[in-house]
């Protein structure tokens, strides 16, 4: 226990350990129930904060903030005003409905956001669980949650990466999805996608888990039809 301090534990949760140290910490934690409990507390704290503030990023941006940029843009020579705001308004409507959906999830489930805790494990719930179950990467125009890669993990079982209010990787476990990693997502900033730190870290998790190559469209469809077994 003494060889793993709190900083190492949270670095693991934050995805800041390299492969060698990550394995080392995980090995020690596996043999130390007290440490494992502490790790779970940190995982859950991170998921809770991420989920809590994710709701803010999903709200439509207040008019006065939008107006500030709109006005500024019209005084710049290369301004092209109108069409974009219509798209944006539509995004706002989608965002509003998503917030509503999450709100209902909170009232009935008692657990806010797309990720809940079950027996100390992060699990997908609500719209995220549904997207993981049913959504195909080849057909998801306009979806609030985007599925990235579907792949088989080492030792067997399906995993899928996702991006939305929360980004990360989830793996099939029984009838549900265990969330392996949860980071604040990029949506709804998707029209302007810089390589984000979330992207790089989701890819690192995929790399660490994946066996062989990710499924192509046909493979993904077949796996979905088979209930991800």
């Amino acid at each position: 226990m003494s060889q793993i301090d709190e900083a190492m534990l949270i670095a693991l949760v934050d995805g800041e350990l390299d492969e060698v140290n990550r394995r080392r910490v995980e090995r020690v934690v596996a043999d130390d129930p007290a440490l494992a409990e502490r790790l779970e507390m940190h995982r859950s704290l991170r998921a809770r904060l991420t989920g809590h503030y994710a709701l803010v990023a999903e709200e439509p941006v207040p008019d006065r903030l939008r107006a500030l940029l709109e006005e500024s843009e019209t005084v710049v020579p290369i301004a092209r005003p109108a069409p974009r705001w219509r798209n944006w308004a539509m995004g706002g409507a989608i965002a509003a409905s998503l917030v509503l959906g999450l709100g209902i999830g909170r009232m009935s489930g008692g657990d806010a956001g797309p990720i809940g805790m079950r027996n100390g494990v992060m699990v997908a719930q609500g719209p995220l669980a549904k997207a993981l179950d049913t959504q195909l990467a080849s057909a998801q125009q306009g979806a609030a949650i985007r599925i990235g890669l579907s792949f088989q993990r080492k030792g067997g079982g399906w995993c899928r990466s996702f991006d939305g209010a929360v980004a990360g990787v989830a793996c099939r476990h029984g009838e549900g999805w265990q969330v392996q990693q949860a980071l604040p997502g990029m949506w709804p900033g998707t029209e302007y996608r810089q390589a984000s730190s979330a992207d790089a870290r989701v890819m690192a998790t995929v790399d660490a888990l994946i066996e062989g190559a990710p499924a192509d469209a046909a493979g993904e469809k077949a796996a979905q039809a088979g209930g991800w077994r």
Binding site: D14, L45, A57
Partner: protein, 162 residues
């Protein structure tokens, strides 16, 4: 691609950061507005090709620190015996704001500024330690110790329910 449109695209994330730093939504949006205004004025200082979001986070964080210091000064100047809970705040507005606050908001507000900004950048915005340390202008070791202390405090404040 215009500067304004790039800003608009990251505005939802900037609002998220602002709210996680601020007392409530209204303060968060005020901070967000001040940040956008500052950025539009200083747009020539942004170097295309570098991360616009990091640049914006830095502007916002600096404005927030300035404002927090001003509020502390005002609190010292005007504090009377009834100050206690309401240091620097308008009482009515506090009651209203608190009604809409969850235990996450309250726990975040109870953190010292330097811990709150570290937690906000890493746990709320999902930045790497390196990116967060750069924005805050502190060494990595300082950032990680703030993250450790901040999380310890949050776990305590939020209880086992976390």
């Amino acid at each position: 691609m215009s500067f304004e449109r790039d800003l608009l695209a990251i505005l939802p994330r900037l609002r998220r950061f602002a709210v996680s730093l601020s007392r409530d939504r209204a303060d968060g949006d005020d901070l967000c507005q001040a940040t956008v205004e500052r950025a539009l004025k200083a747009r020539d200082q942004w170097q295309p090709g570098t991360r616009l979001d990091s640049w914006m986070y830095r502007i916002m964080r600096n404005l927030w620190i300035d404002e927090a210091r001003a509020r502390q000064r005002a609190a010292k100047t005007f504090a009377s015996e009834e100050a206690g809970e309401n240091v620097g705040h308008a009482g009515d507005r506090d009651v209203e704001a608190h009604m809409a606050l969850s235990d996450v908001d309250r726990a975040m507000q109870a953190l010292p500024d330097e811990q709150r900004e570290a937690i906000a950048l890493v746990l709320v915005e999902g930045l790497s330690y390196r990116e967060a340390a750069e924005i805050l202008g502190v060494p990595m070791g300082t950032l990680t110790s703030r993250l450790v202390r901040g999380r310890g405090a949050l776990l305590e404040l939020m209880g086992e329910a976390a």
